[in-house]
Each structure stands twice: as structure tokens, then as C-alpha cells.
């Protein structure tokens, strides 16, 4: 009996070594950790339970039958993050370069199925060479099986992908269909076709970093939602993210003790809006001063900075925040900002995370670049996302809410639940200059008249009261009480019930 038990330990030891000491050393030399090291950092100590440790591939081509390594290039299983269950699959670059075989894919789909069945998030860590070519169509089929489960799980359980090494070809589409993609700077890259193929086909010379490094995907392509400096920080931050998310769409947002004052008054917010309406201010200051403990997990921090998205907590419960950023392009809505925020709002709606929106938006960005780029449809995505969302929606207009952008930014008209405005709010079709030039076209050359008209317009429309008189704003609130007002609204909205008409699914303008 003892002999048998010992044998299990031996086999486990072999499996845990993956591709062997030499490959592990090579992995470390590249500044990367091994699959099991990453898991140790990601999950609570001693909480990981591994599945399919002894699975091997069944390929008989190209001499593969003589090369078998238990685990077959991916480590799967489950564990806990602060006591809450999560499933993981982690590519093991030391084993066949982490390449995907039929057996490897089946390990992945097994945890995907279990995650979906039990309603717990799944986290994939990618560091692999793509399809195992020796397996041919079996590998492609394997990918398809994984993709299918990504899609079925979408909106049911949170799916998080972290790119921690190469991720190319078929490998990219699984992360692409998950909720979030994060990368590790300098050691990871992600593309459909690599620099060699690019060179052959288009004659472009690019490095992997230039083609699909974290610097590209977090700023230009918006494929990635964030990037960190190394594996250790990445795992710490993923733990932080998981703490914000419910386990599934059947679960409530997590709650934990908070040590911030419920009714914290922030006098300094009364001076946040500059006297000059054309002066920017930092919307993040408002976010930090409203949420619990100034703790804000930003999503897509480096992309479309004219809008801010991310997670925070109010009274210990997660919320999603969307806010125009006057510091960048005056907080205007353009195609990128609309897409970024739309996707974020839809994620929150999937997972019962209330959305708090801070509005200071001068409108949509004009110009051929935007119109040719399909601003109409991109802007519509955000409008659509906000309108269909049934989670609690609390909106605070701090300054400008002009034109169609006013409607889009979670207004009362598209089912905003609580809409507050600061006394500095300007809710109007457009700013004074533009409006006066249209309404009083006849006086356009008379400077004095135009000045008088502008003054009249400003006095009448550039305030929150016209909207408040009509009930489009529930109340005009003091900036310093924003936290307590938002918190009270969210507390009330916990019992919100609303359902959209039955449909197979909607047809958002993709």
C-alpha cells in the first residue's frame, strides 16, 4: 500500500516539474515565471487543486509518440481568491512550448464546463506557441471547442485572460472573447500573424513588441485592458480585480467591510469646477473622493483617455464607474471612447454591477476622421449599452451635458435611475457660442448683439435648472455631498427590479 502511495507522489513530482529544470531555468531567464509559480501567486496559499495532471497527448505523427510529458502543456484546476472559488487554466511554456493539442484543449474545456456549471469565474494565463502543428486538424478542432465555451460562458461567469508570453494565431481568439485581457509589459505579445508572416505578405518590418506588445494593445488597438510590469504584479492585480467581481450572473456583487465614512463630506469638491468653463479639471479627483478609500481599479487606463472606466466600491459593494475626463480632449465622446465605455457598461450589466456615471461632456467629436470611422455606430453602442442596462444607474452631471451626448450619458430618458446635477451643470443642446450663431444668424456681424444674445443664452440654459424644472434631473445637489447622495441612491436601488422584453438577444450595432 505504502509503495502505491509513494508512487503517486513520484508521478506528481514528475508532472509538477513540467518540461524539466532546464526549461524552467530558461523561462526564468526570460523574466517569466512557470505555470505553477504563477498559480501559486494567483490563488490563496494551498488552495489550488489540479485536474488532469497526468493527461498526455495521443499524437502519433512526426515521432510525437516518443515525446510525452504529463500535463501536456497546460495546468488546469481550481482554487480560491480570498476564499472565493475561481477556475484556472495556465499554459505551461516549458512543455511543448505550451502548444495546443487535442488533449490539451480537452483539459481546458473541462474546466470551462465546470466553471460554467458551478458559476465561478475562470482565469486563463497565456504563454504559448499556438497550435501543435503535429496534431493538424485535431488542434484546430480543439480551439473551436474552447471558443464555443468562451462564447457560452460570456455574460454568465467572468472570464479573465492574462497574456504572459507569446500568444499568437489561434491562441488569441479565446482571450479575445473573454471579458478582460491583461498583459505583462516587455514579456508578452499578442497577434494573429507574427512578424515573419507580416514581412512576407506586406513587406513591413516590425518587431513582436511593435506588432503586438503591451504598449500597442493598451494604447492603440485597445485589445488589452491593462498591462503591468511583471508576473508578480500582474497576479497581485488580478486578485484585486477578482475581489470586485461577482462569481457569476446569478450572484450579487461581493461585499466586504469598509472603513470609509458613509456620509463623508468633501468640501474641496465645491471648488473642483474651475471658474473658467474652458479650463479642464481632473475627473479622477472626483472619483477618488467619492468611492470607498479612494480605491479605483481602472480598465483601459491608457486608451481613449477622454473617458474613464473602472471598478470601485461604495459602502463595501462593487460599482462600475464611467466618467468623461475633461483633461483629455475636453472629455468629448469619440468612436474610441464610445466603444470603450459601451463594452464596460455591458460587462457591468451582465454581472449586476451598478453603474455610476459622472458627466462632463461637450458632445460628440466632429470631423471626417470620426465620421468616416463610423462614429454614428460607435456612439450608438454606448447609447445602446446604457439603455438596455437594467442594473442600478446613478448619474451625476458635474458640468457640461451637451447635445446628444447628454442623452447618451445615462440620462433619465434612457432609464437612468437617479440623475443628479451639480449647480455648475450646463444641460443644453450646445454651448452658447454655437447656439447663438444659429438662433441669431441675422445678427452674426453685430458683435454687441451677439454678446447680448450669448449672455441671455448662458443665463437661461447653461445651468441645471431648465432640466430640473422638467424633472429630467431628480435633484440639484451640492458637490461636497456627492458621496453620500450616490451611496444613498445605490442603497435604495439594491431592490431595483426591471426586465427587458423577451428576446433571443438584442442586435447592438457592432
Amino acid at each position: 500500500m505504502k509503495e502505491i502511495l509513494r508512487k503517486l507522489e513520484e508521478r506528481r513530482a514528475v508532472a509538477r516539474l513540467g518540461g524539466g529544470e532546464k526549461r524552467i531555468a530558461a523561462q526564468h531567464a526570460r523574466g517569466k515565471l512557470t505555470a505553477r509559480e504563477r498559480i501559486a501567486l494567483l490563488l490563496d496559499q494551498d488552495s489550488f487543486e489540479e485536474f488532469d495532471m497526468f493527461v498526455e497527448h495521443d499524437c502519433h505523427e512526426f515521432g510525437m509518440e516518443n515525446q510525452k510529458i504529463p500535463g501536456d502543456g497546460v495546468v488546469t484546476g481550481w482554487g480560491t481568491v480570498n476564499g472565493r472559488p475561481v477556475y484556472v487554466f495556465v499554459k505551461d511554456f516549458t512543455v511543448f512550448g505550451g502548444s495546443l493539442s487535442r488533449a490539451h484543449a480537452r483539459k481546458m474545456t473541462k474546466v470551462q464546463d465546470m466553471a460554467l456549471r458551478t458559476g465561478a469565474p475562470i482565469i486563463g494565463l497565456f504563454d504559448a506557441g499556438g497550435a501543435r502543428i503535429q496534431e493538424g486538424v485535431d488542434a484546430l478542432g480543439g480551439y473551436g471547442e474552447v471558443f464555443t465555451r468562451n462564447v457560452l460562458a460570456s455574460g454568465v461567469i467572468p472570464q479573465i485572460s492574462v497574456i504572459m508570453g507569446p500568444c499568437a494565431g489561434g491562441d488569441v481568439y479565446s482571450p479575445a472573447m473573454t471579458d478582460f485581457i491583461f498583459m505583462v509589459r516587455d514579456t508578452s505579445y499578442m497577434f494573429v500573424t507574427g512578424p515573419d508572416v507580416v514581412k512576407t505578405v506586406t513587406n513591413e518590418t516590425v518587431t513582436s513588441e511593435q506588432l503586438g506588445g503591451a504598449s500597442i494593445h493598451t494604447t492603440k488597438s485597445s485589445v488589452a485592458d491593462g498591462a503591468w510590469d511583471n508576473d508578480v504584479i500582474a497576479m497581485t492585480q488580478i486578485r484585486r480585480l477578482v475581489d470586485f467581481l461577482p462569481l457569476s450572473n446569478r450572484d450579487e456583487v461581493p461585499e466586504r467591510p469598509y472603513f470609509d465614512e458613509q456620509n463623508r463630506i468633501e468640501k474641496s469638491l465645491d471648488t473642483l469646477i474651475p471658474a473658467n468653463p474652458n479650463m479642464p479639471y481632473d475627473m479622477k479627483e472626483l472619483i477618488h473622493k467619492v468611492v470607498d478609500e479612494a480605491d479605483f481599479f481602472e480598465i483601459q487606463e491608457s486608451f481613449a483617455k477622454n473617458i474613464i472606466t473602472g471598478f470601485a466600491r461604495i459602502e463595501g459593494r462593487s460599482i462600475g464607474i464611467v466618467a468623461n475626463q475633461p483633461m483629455v480632449l475636453a472629455g468629448v465622446l469619440d468612436s474610441d471612447a464610445s466603444r470603450k465605455a459601451a463594452r464596460f457598461v455591458r460587462f457591468c450589466d451582465c454581472f449586476n454591477i451598478p453603474v455610476v456615471t459622472f458627466v462632463d461632456v461637450p458632445g460628440f467629436l466632429p470631423g471626417t476622421a470620426q465620421e468616416y470611422g463610423g462614429l454614428i455606430k460607435h456612439g450608438a453602442k454606448l447609447l445602446f449599452a446604457y439603455t438596455e442596462a437594467t442594473v442600478p444607474k446613478v448619474t451625476v452631471i458635474t458640468r457640461k451635458a451637451y447635445g446628444g451626448a447628454y442623452d447618451v450619458m445615462s440620462s433619465k430618458h434612457i432609464r437612468g435611475d437617479f440623475n443628479y446635477a451639480w449647480p455648475t451643470a450646463e444641460i443644453a443642446v450646445m454651448g452658447a457660442k454655437g447656439a447663438v450663431e444659429i438662433i441669431h444668424r441675422a445678427d452674426i456681424d453685430d458683435k454687441d448683439k451677439i454678446a447680448a444674445h450669448t449672455k441671455t443664452y448662458e443665463d437661461r440654459f447653461l445651468n441645471p435648472f431648465v432640466a430640473a424644472e422638467r424633472g429630467y434631473i431628480d435633484e440639484v445637489i451640492m458637490p461636497h455631498s456627492t458621496r453620500s447622495r450616490v451611496a444613498r441612491a445605490l442603497a435604495l436601488l439594491k431592490s431595483k427590479e426591471i426586465e427587458n422584453p423577451w428576446k433571443k438577444h438584442d442586435n447592438i450595432p457592432l
Binding site: S47, T80, R185, N230, V232, D260
Partner: protein, 675 residues
């Protein structure tokens, strides 16, 4: 007594004067420019009058506007504060003509002391010690040697028309005088077209020590001890204290009596300050007299209990001084730190903008230690580009010098400012500096001890042990909260490890400390473990700190410790005693894995010209491919209405220009790149 006074100033000094006026039952009128509409002094005053646009020349310096404001409000007297119009005789004259009292000295005294030569004459006549020297024309090297001999070595030979150190020589003996005389003359001729030179005593190891005095209209003049202001950066006072650690009773008395003599010589009748330079043998020499309230007056108030502003108002209203020379005592020690909106790590460039957080330590006295904070700002207010970038004057008082210094360290540690850069780390570093603590200071202290500017400091072993303990405590509090999240697997409480490694990175070193933690009734007990697992030392942390609080206050091994905390991507940034440290707490495994992570090498920025401050590109003076010489202007960036020429630090070829005129750049944005 006046019923209403106007304060012709802004910022902290206006607030300071209003406080005393209010205490005396006098109504106050503030004046303000466009930029100060929402300023604290406007809020504090009973009334406020707008006097013009933001630039001081169009507001606070306009005599007519201020007199008009007095008329409008019925103010009977004006307190000028310091700076602006405080030492402008025209202002005093105009007030007199308007029949408004000036809370300051008489016009003659302002005029006499405002003139460098005139004031020296008065000083000589009043037998006040001045720097020995010979102001006549010196004909030959032989003459120079003779005169130098009379003055006594070392001497300084200076160009009469000079400035900026040109034509200046220091000579320690006859040979050096001969040599220096010739070269100084030549240099003076080539630099200024005027070869006249003069010789005066060179004061070695100089200290700046000044005497505060207060006089009434009845001929009573009292000196209120001295202040030492030797800690200066480029002639700007940074830290002041009272009394001076250097003066003995005899010197103090001599300086005080000479100051009184000078004041009497000009019929002085308000608060004033006589500045001296003091050498290492306690010889003191008159520099100048300031006929106003000084910035650093609070340290005098703290050790004497005299409210100088109150005395100024009383004597201006024609009352007699209520203090006699015998009443003036020295009680304990007071230190003042000037907190400036400037970036100590970037050669003290001014930093203006919104005060996102402004949370000074609590004022008041406890256990014989006092904190006083004179300020004119508030959280959410603006540090404007138009005026002095001083945020606050933080003062501490204690029974002796080291007690006052240590209390200042704590007060600085507890001072929270966000949104702009500030010099608190630099001030904290000075408080910890052995030479400063020893009192062996001169006006050269900062230049000598921080010759290449300020780049942060390391912390001593014992202090770093405390900081490690604080980091461990923060982590434990966070971990304890993290495991209370909802949605956990039922009946399977998460195991929180009790062994951790705190990796702390300070200015120049990384330390790793393995710690075993244990909750006890009193607090968190920490065993610092050696590599072999034996207990190297034990520590106890007691605090009611909660997540989200930016200031940790507590006891480490019974010692009070205050540390500022900023969240980092991993762990915390900790600020303590002028030092900045990054601390991350990990499991033993986590720590070993972290050590496998490659050091991220910041790209070599030597190849780049970076924007030194947020600003607007006015022009780019070079194009790609240009060859440039060291010193050549590459770009002009406007920041805070100031044009800054950015010059090449070395010869090179421009590889790429990344910015263009009109661009608005953030700090450290790349302007251009060298090959």
C-alpha cells in the same frame, strides 16, 4: 483703539493679522485680486474689497486702490504684512495724506533703512558693528595689502560695479591680496568696463541671525531676542529658529542693545528686525534693518509669548508698549519650516495648481509640545502662479532645541499635501540631518550638504526597522479585511499565512525582512527572523489605522510613528522623515519569485530632451539632422508665464523632433531625441 483695519496683503500673513485683530475685537477688511476671489483671507475677513487683476502690479501693489478700499469700508488703519507695499515709503506717505494710520514705522525710518548706504551710515553713527572694509578707491597692490592688513584676514576684494561673483576674490594672506587685486581689477574692467575695486572683511562660516524689536511712540524700544535663519537656499530662508543655538547671553545682549540703538536713531515705532551676519567667533556685523513684520516672526512669538501683531496694532494706535525689556524671556525653543510649492527632486522648480489634499497636522499644545501652522490655503484651493509659492509656515515649540526639532519631524510626517509637489521631504531630511541637529550650521549649510540638489535620503537602520513594521501592519490589516469578503466557499475559511517577507526599497538599497506575525491584546507582535529562522528582534505595533487612511499613526515599540501612505501597484509608498520607501509584503514564496523578476531598466533618457515642467511649447529651435553644440537652445517652453530655454547639455545630432510649437506638454514628455 481702531475699530476697523484693512490688511493690504494676501495669503497666510493676511490670515495671521486677521486672527489677532479678531482677538482684539477689531473688524477686518481684506483686499483681493481676481486670482484670490475664493482665498482664505477673503473668507476670514469681515469685509473684502476687490482691487484688480491677478498680477500684483495691478492689484496688491496699487496704492490708490488700497486707499480707496479703506475709504469705501471706513478702515482706520492698514496693516501691510510683509512684501508688497510693506516697506514702500510712498505707501506710508499716501496713507498719512489720506488720514489713515499705517501699522508700521514712521516714513523717515522706512526711507532711512530702505537705503543700503543710508542705513550703514545710521548704523555707524549708532555704533552698530558693520562689516569692516574700505570703500575708497585703491590705487595699487601695495595699497591693497596695507588696507587688508588693517581690516584683518581673510578679506574679500570686490568690483565696485560688480555682481554675480565676477571680479570677486577671497584672500587669506598678502600674496593672495596682491594677486587677487590685479586679477579682480582686470576682470572688473572686462566685465563691467569699470576697474574700481574695494576690500572688505570676508566673514567665514557666516550665520544669519536677526534681532526682533518692538518700539512705541514714547521712546520705549525693546528687543525680543534673536532668530537664526541660516538654513537658506539661494538666499531664500527655509528653516528658522529662535533662539539661535549659537548665541551666548552676552552676545545676545550686545546685539540687542545695538539694535535698540539703531532703532532709536531713526525714532522707530513699530515691530522691526535688524539682520546681522555672525562669524564663527561670534563677531557680528549689521546687514540691514527690515521695517516690517518678518515672515518668520512666529518663532519669536512662540518663545516669548508676545503677539507681535497685537503690539504693532497697539503702538500704531498710540498705546504704550505693555512689555519692558525685563519682561522678555526665552521660553523653550521654536522652529519654523517654510512649506513651499516646489519640487525638491527637480531643483526646486515651482509647482503650482490645485491642492487636491491639504491636511496639516492638528495645531495646539500637548505634553509641552506645540504645533502652529500659519497658512492661507485650504483643501481644494489653488496655489496660483502669480504669487509667492509658500503653502504654509509650520512651527513647533518644545522645551529644548531637539524636542522642537523632533516634534517638527512628526508634524512634517503628518502633513498631507496632494496635487502639487512640495518640499516636505527636503525639510524632513534636514530635521534628521546630524549637522543641523548639532546646531553647527552656517548660511552655506544647504549648498554644502546638498551640493547636487536633493535626491531623497536613506533612513537609518532603526528607522527602517520601524518602517518595515508599519508596512507589515498595513498588510495585516488589509489581509484581515480581504478574508471577510462575501461569496466564500462555506465553512472553509481562508488560511492567512503568518510568515511574510517585507521587501523595502529606499533611495539606494533594497532590504528584505522575514517576519512572523501574531495578534495580541495590545497590537500586532512581529518577530523579525534571520535567514535560519531564529528571532533577531521583536517588535510591537499598536495603531487603530484603517484601510484607506493616508496617514498611519501609531506606536512601534512604544515610540510614536507617523507615516504617509500611498498605494502602489504592489505594496505601498511610505514617506517618513524625508525618506521615501517602497514596501511590498509577500509570502516567502512570493518574495523568492519576485526576485526572479528582471529589473526594469528605464530607457536611457540621456538621449532625450524632456519637458521639465508642464508647459506650452513656444518654439523648437532645431530640426531633425541638425548638429547642436552644448549650450545651444533647443526649444522654448512656457510655463507659469515664464519662458524657459531648454539647452543642449552636450554636443550631438538631433535624431527626431517629437513636439512642435503650440503643443501643450506634460512633465517628462519627450520634446526631441538625440542620435
Amino acid at each position: 483703539m481702531f475699530k476697523k483695519i484693512l490688511i493690504a496683503n494676501r495669503g497666510e500673513i493676511a490670515c495671521r493679522v486677521i486672527k489677532t485683530a479678531r482677538k482684539m475685537g477689531i473688524k477686518t477688511v481684506a483686499v483681493y485680486s481676481d486670482a484670490d476671489k475664493d482665498a482664505l483671507h477673503v473668507e476670514m475677513a469681515d469685509e473684502a474689497v476687490h482691487i484688480g487683476p491677478a498680477p500684483a502690479a495691478q492689484s496688491y501693489l496699487l496704492i490708490d486702490r488700497i486707499i480707496e478700499a479703506c475709504r469705501q469700508t471706513g478702515a482706520e488703519a492698514v496693516h501691510p504684512g510683509y512684501g508688497f507695499l510693506s516697506e514702500n515709503p510712498k505707501f506710508a506717505i499716501a496713507l498719512k495724506e489720506a488720514g489713515i494710520a499705517f501699522i508700521g514705522p514712521n516714513i523717515k525710518a522706512i526711507e532711512a533703512m530702505g537705503d543700503k548706504i543710508e542705513s550703514k551710515k545710521f548704523a555707524n553713527a549708532a555704533k552698530v558693528s558693520t562689516v569692516p572694509g574700505y570703500l575708497g578707491v585703491i590705487e595699487s597692490p601695495a595699497d591693497a595689502v596695507r588696507i587688508a592688513g588693517e581690516i584683518g584676514y581673510p578679506v574679500m576684494i570686490k568690483a565696485s560695479a560688480g555682481g554675480g561673483g565676477k571680479g570677486m576674490r577671497i584672500a587669506w594672506n598678502e600674496g593672495e591680496v596682491e594677486e587677487g587685486f590685479v586679477s579682480s581689477k582686470n576682470e572688473a574692467l572686462s566685465s563691467f568696463g569699470d576697474d574700481r575695486v574695494f576690500i572688505e572683511k570676508f566673514v567665514t562660516e557666516p550665520r544669519h541671525i536677526e534681532i526682533q524689536l518692538i518700539a512705541d511712540k514714547f521712546g520705549n524700544t525693546v528687543y525680543v531676542n534673536e532668530r537664526e535663519c541660516s538654513i537658506q537656499r539661494r538666499n531664500q530662508k527655509v528653516i528658522e529658529e529662535a533662539p539661535s543655538p549659537f548665541l551666548d547671553a552676552a552676545t545676545r545682549k550686545a546685539m540687542g542693545e545695538q539694535s535698540v540703538a539703531l532703532a532709536k536713531a531713526v525714532n522707530y515705532e513699530s515691530a522691526g528686525t535688524v539682520e546681522f551676519i555672525v562669524d564663527k567667533d561670534r563677531n557680528f556685523y549689521f546687514l540691514e534693518m527690515n521695517t516690517r513684520l518678518q515672515v518668520e516672526h512666529p518663532v519669536t512669538e512662540l518663545i516669548t509669548g508676545i503677539d507681535l501683531v497685537e503690539q504693532m496694532i497697539r503702538v500704531a494706535a498710540g498705546e504704550k508698549l505693555t512689555v519692558t525689556q525685563d519682561d522678555v524671556k526665552i521660553n523653550g525653543w521654536a522652529i519654523e519650516s517654510r512649506i513651499y510649492a516646489e519640487d525638491p527632486y527637480r531643483s526646486f522648480l515651482p509647482s503650482t495648481g490645485r491642492l487636491v489634499r491639504y491636511q496639516p497636522p492638528a495645531e495646539g499644545t500637548a505634553d509641552g509640545l506645540t504645533i502652529r501652522n500659519d497658512t492661507g490655503v485650504y483643501e481644494g484651493g489653488e496655489i496660483s502662479i502669480f504669487y509667492d509659492p509658500m503653502i504654509a509656515k509650520l512651527c513647533t515649540h518644545g522645551p529644548d532645541r531637539l524636542a522642537a526639532i523632533d516634534h517638527m519631524s512628526v508634524a512634517l510626517d503628518e502633513f498631507r499635501i496632494e496635487g502639487i509637489q512640495h518640499n516636505i521631504p527636503f525639510l524632513g531630511a534636514i530635521m534628521e540631518h546630524e549637522r543641523f541637529r548639532s546646531g553647527n550650521i552656517t548660511t552655506g549649510f544647504i549648498a554644502e550638504e546638498f551640493p547636487d540638489g536633493f535626491h531623497g535620503v536613506d533612513i537609518s537602520r532603526s528607522r527602517s526597522d520601524r518602517l518595515v513594521a508599519v508596512a507589515m501592519f498595513l498588510h495585516e490589516v488589509h489581509a484581515a479585511r480581504a478574508v471577510q469578503i462575501s461569496g466564500q466557499l462555506p465553512n472553509r475559511p481562508r488560511k492567512v499565512p503568518d510568515e511574510w517577507v517585507v521587501a523595502m526599497k529606499t533611495n539606494s538599497e533594497v532590504t528584505r525582512q522575514k517576519i512572523r506575525v501574531r495578534e495580541s491584546d495590545t497590537g500586532l507582535e512581529l518577530d523579525y527572523l534571520d535567514a535560519d529562522g531564529t528571532i533577531a528582534s521583536r517588535h510591537l505595533v499598536e495603531s487603530d489605522w484603517r484601510p484607506g487612511q493616508p496617514l498611519f499613526k501609531g506606536l512601534v515599540d512604544g515610540q510614536p510613528v507617523s507615516v504617509q501612505i500611498d498605494r502602489a501597484k504592489q505594496g505601498y509608498m511610505l514617506n517618513y522623515r524625508g525618506a521615501s520607501a517602497h514596501a511590498a509584503v509577500r509570502t516567502t514564496l512570493g518574495d523568492s519569485l519576485e526576485q526572479l523578476m528582471p529589473e526594469k531598466v528605464a530607457p536611457d533618457m540621456g538621449k532625450f530632451l524632456l519637458c521639465p515642467m508642464p508647459g506650452l511649447v513656444k518654439s523648437i529651435s532645431v530640426a531633425e539632422g541638425d548638429e547642436v553644440k552644448a549650450g545651444q537652445t533647443l526649444a522654448v517652453v512656457e510655463a507659469m508665464k515664464m519662458e524657459n530655454n531648454l539647452r543642449a547639455e552636450r554636443d550631438g545630432i538631433i535624431a527626431k523632433v517629437s513636439a512642435k510649437a503650440g503643443d501643450s506638454l506634460a512633465v517628462d514628455a519627450v520634446i526631441l531625441e538625440f542620435e
